[in-house]
């Protein structure tokens, strides 16, 4: 390797490279399908964002260039503004409510003394992560349906005159349902990383603390939390990096005509105007807008993560 750096002769380097490639051709051949996949389904679509700056029709293909006109038109649309606002509100609440819960749960699980109970709780709380959002919407229906649901049924049994709203079809409740079901679904999975980090803590620290008279609470505040802090910070930063993803799968599964105005996000908006109405240019522009914000956020947060912990960056 050092030789190639010293040798100024480029031709020589290319020859050596060609010789290596020929000798190792199987290794390079193995790479072909993966690269073809990446180009076909990632890079060519990236070039497709050009359609955000020109007309595009399903029948005739690309038309005249429009500069930023399409973006201007898009930004002036009330439905897009609404989707953007909803996107930010839902993402932020998911971050604020969803981020601390796995940490708290891990700390709690760590306190369980019986290994079998611990295992049972862990197994139970990870379960929702394996269930698709349409099944979850079915489970929510089973719990909250006004006529036959579990909770309304219980309320009626306690108070026959109670007025029960259908939270799945109520504008004021739906965001809470979205955030709540997200926390319910994702938290169990989130505990895995924290619990792995907690397992790595030296038990002697706890023993020393106990000898000094520290109770359980003090042990948690002075040993467990400080040890977890770097993990927490790094995971938080990355979570912020992907904050624009408000969760198409979930929103699409929980949407209905009565509540869509409260939970329509950019992704579902893109789906609606792009796939259902075939307004390709505007939908591409909306998608690009989201991707661009996402890219800036990821790069910024990666930079910050590296500052906190040089080994932690994804790049």
């Amino acid at each position: 390797m050092t030789q190639t750096k010293i040798a100024p002769n480029r031709l020589k380097r290319y020859r050596r490279m060609w010789r290596d490639i020929r000798a190792d051709w199987i290794l390079y051949l193995l790479l072909v399908p993966g690269m073809v996949y990446v180009v076909l389904f990632h890079y060519i679509p990236m070039l497709g964002v050009a359609n955000a700056f020109r007309d595009y029709s399903a029948v005739t293909g690309p038309g005249a260039w429009r500069g930023l006109e399409i973006f201007e038109k898009l930004f002036s649309r009330v439905a897009f503004q609404r989707a953007f606002r909803n996107n930010i509100i839902i993402s932020l609440f998911k971050l604020l409510c969803g981020f601390p819960v796995p940490i708290i749960l891990s700390l709690m699980i760590n306190e369980i003394r019986r290994p079998r109970v611990k295992k049972f709780i862990q197994t139970a709380i990870i379960l929702p992560n394996f269930i698709s959002w349409f099944i979850i919407s079915g489970l929510l229906f089973a719990m909250f349906s006004v006529t036959s649901g579990a909770i309304p049924g219980l309320i009626r049994a306690l108070n026959p005159n109670a007025v029960i709203t259908n939270v799945l079809q109520d504008k004021d409740c739906i965001r809470t349902v979205v955030i709540g079901s997200y926390v319910w679904q994702a938290s169990g999975m989130g505990t895995i990383v924290y619990l792995a980090a907690i397992t790595g803590i030296d038990q002697q620290l706890y023993e020393a603390a106990m000898i000094d008279g520290a109770g359980k609470w003090q042990q948690m505040v002075h040993i467990t939390l400080p040890t977890l802090l770097p993990t927490i910070i790094v995971l938080f930063i990355f979570r912020v990096g992907s904050v624009m993803n408000a969760g198409f799968d979930q929103i699409y599964a929980l949407s209905n005509s009565l509540v869509v105005s409260k939970i329509d996000i950019i992704d579902t908006y893109v789906f609606k105007i792009g796939i259902e109405q075939a307004k390709f240019s505007e939908a591409t522009a909306a998608g690009l807008f989201k991707s661009a914000i996402g890219l800036v956020l990821v790069l910024t947060t990666n930079y910050l993560a590296k500052k906190v912990d040089p080994d932690s960056g994804i790049m």
């Binding site: 379960l127 049924g153 992704d267």
Partner: protein, 304 residues
Amino acid sequence: MKKRKKSGHIARTRGEQIGYAIIMLVLGLFAFSTIYPVWHVVMYSISDSKLSMSGGFFFWPRGFSLKSYKMVFQTSQIWIAYRNSILVTFVGTVMSVGLSAITAYPLSRKRLHGRNFLSMVVFFTMLFSGGMIPLYLQVARLGLLDTFWSMILPTCMSAYNMFILRNFMQGVPDSLEESARIDGANDFIILVRIILPLCTPSLAAIAMFYGVHYWNNYMNCLLYTNSTGLQVLPLYLRTVLNSAAANALSASSDLSSLGEAASVLTEETVKMTVVAVSVIPIILVYPYLQRFYTKGITVGAVKG
């Protein structure tokens, strides 16, 4: 482990005892909230429709009836959806794991020219994407719209999973490879006979990631296919949960064989049955999945 047990014997203050009770209560409630809905749905679906109409909690079935199952399994669409979901999951997982493995191996070898550049090329796909519409148009251009392959190929390799595997392969020492090479093995044989067997834990983990992804994913089906013959289970569930469809189902004429019995079947029971039928396979394989999944996440996290 022994140390843990010892700490349990140390006398605790009253405050700590109360704290412990609160912790167990909170965790118990959380665990209940994840298990009960699934239990509820199954119990509701085997209850007698007349008795289950009023709702409430179902710790046991009220009455017993399998009419709704009979009815649901009589419709051909659920079999089609089941078949498609199983096929997509199986074929997709095999292809995705294979593609990830043959891509990860070269990228893990230091002697590969342009290794950093090529890794960057794959990595960048995690940072930026053209979005839904350009990908849709590309799938259309490739002539994949409304085909079985459109549900697999567009998401065939996840860069994240590929990198988990690559990092794992980087840990395999070169010396193992060298000795095989002296025995006349080529790179492909080395990959299949030496590298992959050594990577079984992470292969299992990413196979789980892919498998769960394909089973739960409905985006590809929703975006790229139209025909009911290609519908996957989550989307079938959507049509049933949409009450108009469930109504039609419970009133459909091919149920005449059930006679009067069908008329007491409520829409809710039908919905619960379809949810139960969708969730039961997951519950059955879940204990096995969870083990690998936990491993996979920690493998991914350790990589840094």
